[in-house]
Amino acid sequence: MSEPTTSSEKRHVMQLVLDDNMLMLFLAITVPTVFYTLWGIMEVITIPMAK
């Protein structure tokens, strides 16, 4: 690379975030797992029994 590696420290934090593929993978799994899947399963589980 032509640039010194230290230059990445001056980059905007959002740029570093977006360049991190593993972080993207983590977010793509945890956000829907928490808000959609787990919350959704809780909704189903908590449906009361009919009288």
């Binding site: 993207m24 993978l25 977010l27 793509a28 829907p32 808000f35 959704g40 399963i41 189903v44």
Partner: protein, 569 residues
């Protein structure tokens, strides 16, 4: 020259890309398999279309349900995911001048998907697995129906990891510097969404497989639908991300355009990563016992942030084209840039039809129908197949076809044969798709239910008769479906003719002329600004506002209609 001395890479005369031969083979086989399955899926689709046409009703119900199951799985999953594998390898290897991380695993991906698709296809054709693509329990298919899907999904998952590994290789071997190209970042977005998607599929299909073998006594039908849709809907989100990445790619390839703003486009992809998959709830809005809080939060992708992302991409892609065209001298009027675009080049016309079709047909209707309350007057009607043909056919499939016209010379090293057919194809396919989608949505608004072998309820004492206009819309829509199938056939003929009989492009052929970078051209003119009133892309802004107004009107029309039906609380 002996093969041993043949280098691992070749420099492609068409694109100037440094292409790894092994990666290229994998792009080829996946794309080829995809197109074969498109043909198969299309044939089943024709059977479905001709049965839904009132007065024709080609297939008897049992056969119709089998065809519909096969069409759904082959066209919605197999064709598209095979093509996406080809796209991922192209992005990770070709665009980065890179090799594939683990070609052997990539071959595993390919064969697992082939074997999986074949097993499921056999199960469907044996006739005891007409459970539709969604296979809601407790309807039960043969065990190998689920087994095939699981193998197919595992194959796709391997492909995703090969892609991510390939990016690691590129970084380590420094085949690029700085950030990934935007299009490759789009590929990352599609891949990380795909990994969640496939994991969800495994989470529900593996127990269902065990249940079909009798090893598990029961699967809760509502739990099934909650988790299945994390798979079923998210898999469509992979398509959206992939075809949007292809839009960006084609804008640069054809016009020498650069993204209007890396920040905005990548930020929009990040919104997809965070929120797009929440849309899985769209299929559960009419379900009992799930709270409105959960429904509203998820159906709106948390404050509609994924819709915002789509609206952003919808502007920035044509916007980048407009800016490039203006910089190249077409800086007059509002739409000169668009009028003078290469409408005879199917790479461009296909991409632009995909943009319009996805935005106006798939996009607007998707936003409106996924409102918690509006869903009640749309859920499971013919509106749904109308809507998702707007997204998957007019949007995704059209974009995949467009990029195929680019991939044939680059990857298959053949010139496009039957150019005259190729030139027309995007129009035939898109117009057919638009007629199909809009008509079916009309019929759905009038109540016609989806997945019905006979919408006339013939011979039933309690028969209901749909309004005449609804039946007319079904006929008209299915004619559109046939036109769409014709467009797909044209595509397949062009592809097969090109890759088997097209003129070979020698490896050492003279490099093809490169599309000029719009900025380079612009610098020579010495001008400072393009556009008017401080807007670099005023024409695109006007087009975007047309979309916006259409969306707002359509939104309130649906609420007006909703407010007229029975009160419910």
């Amino acid at each position: 020259m002996a093969t041993t001395t043949m280098s691992e890479f070749r420099v492609d005369p068409v694109s100037g890309l440094k292409i790894n031969r092994t990666a290229n083979t994998l792009v080829k086989v996946n794309a080829f398999a995809a197109i074969v399955f498109l043909l198969v899926g299309g044939l089943f689709g024709i059977g479905v279309a001709l049965t839904r046409m009132p007065g024709v009703q080609l297939l008897k119900p049992e056969l119709f349900y089998m065809f519909l199951t096969a069409h759904g799985i082959v066209a919605l999953m197999v064709w598209i995911i095979f093509f996406e594998m080809a796209v991922l390898y192209f992005l990770g290897a070709h665009l980065l001048g890179n090799r594939l991380a683990t070609p052997r695993l990539a071959w595993t991906q390919f064969w697992l998907m082939i074997i999986g698709a074949a097993i499921t296809a056999v199960a469907i054709l044996q006739g005891n697995s007409s459970v539709m693509m969604t296979s809601y329990v407790p309807l039960q298919a043969a065990p190998h129906f689920y087994l095939g899907l699981i193998l197919f999904a595992v194959g796709a998952l391997i492909g995703c990891f090969v892609f991510l590994g390939t990016l690691v290789v590129a970084k380590e071997e420094k085949t690029y510097t700085g950030s990934l190209p935007l299009v490759v970042f789009g590929g990352v977005t599609a891949t990380v969404i795909a990994i969640f998607t496939i994991a969800s599929g495994a989470l529900i299909l593996i127990p269902t497989f065990l249940w079909s073998l009798g090893l598990i006594s029961q699967i809760d039908p509502m739990m099934y639908r909650v988790i299945w849709w994390a798979f079923g809907h998210s898999s469509q989100q992979i398509n959206v991300v992939t075809h949007i990445s292809i839009w960006y790619l084609i804008a640069s390839l054809v016009f020498g355009a650069k993204p209007m703003s890396e920040k905005v486009s990548r930020g929009a992809f990040l919104l997809y990563i965070l929120f797009l998959q929440l849309g899985s709830v769209h299929h559960l809005l009419a379900d009992p016992g799930l709270s409105s809080a959960w429904k509203i939060f998820n159906t709106s992708y948390m404050l509609y942030l994924a819709v915002l992302a789509s609206m952003i991409h919808g502007l920035t892609v044509p916007g980048s084209i407009e800016v490039a065209q203006r910089k190249k001298g077409l800086d007059t009027g509002l739409f000169t840039w668009l009028r003078k675009a290469p409408w005879g080049n199917p790479v461009f016309s296909g991409m632009f039809m995909s943009l319009i079709g996805f935005g106006f047909i798939g996009g607007i209707t998707g936003v409106v129908m996924s409102v918690e309350q509006i869903n009640m007057i749309i859920h499971n009607t013919m509106y749904l197949p109308g809507h998702f043909h707007g997204t998957v056919v007019s949007g995704t499939t059209m974009a995949f076809m467009a990029v195929t016209y680019y991939l044939i010379p680059v990857v298959f090293q053949r010139k496009i044969a039957l150019g005259a057919i190729a030139k027309l194809q995007p129009y035939v396919f898109s117009i057919g798709g638009a007629i199909f989608a809009i008509s079916l949505m009309g019929a759905g608004t009038l109540g016609v239910q989806r997945r019905h072998a006979d919408i006339s309820f013939a011979g039933q004492p309690l028969a209901y008769e749909y309004p005449e206009i609804a039946k007319g819309l079904m006929s008209f829509g299915e004619i559109g479906g046939i036109v769409m199938a014709l467009g797909a056939t044209m595509f397949i003929i062009v592809v097969l003719a090109s890759i088997f009989t097209g003129e070979r492009i020698a490896e050492d052929a003279k490099p093809w002329p490169k599309v000029e970078d719009a900025d380079v051209v612009f610098e020579k003119t010495g001008k400072k600004h393009v556009g008017t009133g401080g807007f670099e892309a005023p024409g695109t802004f006007v087009l975007a506002m047309v979309l916006f107004v259409t969306l707002v009107l359509y939104y309130f029309i649906n609420f007006k209609y909703l407010s007229s039906v029975w009160s419910m609380s």
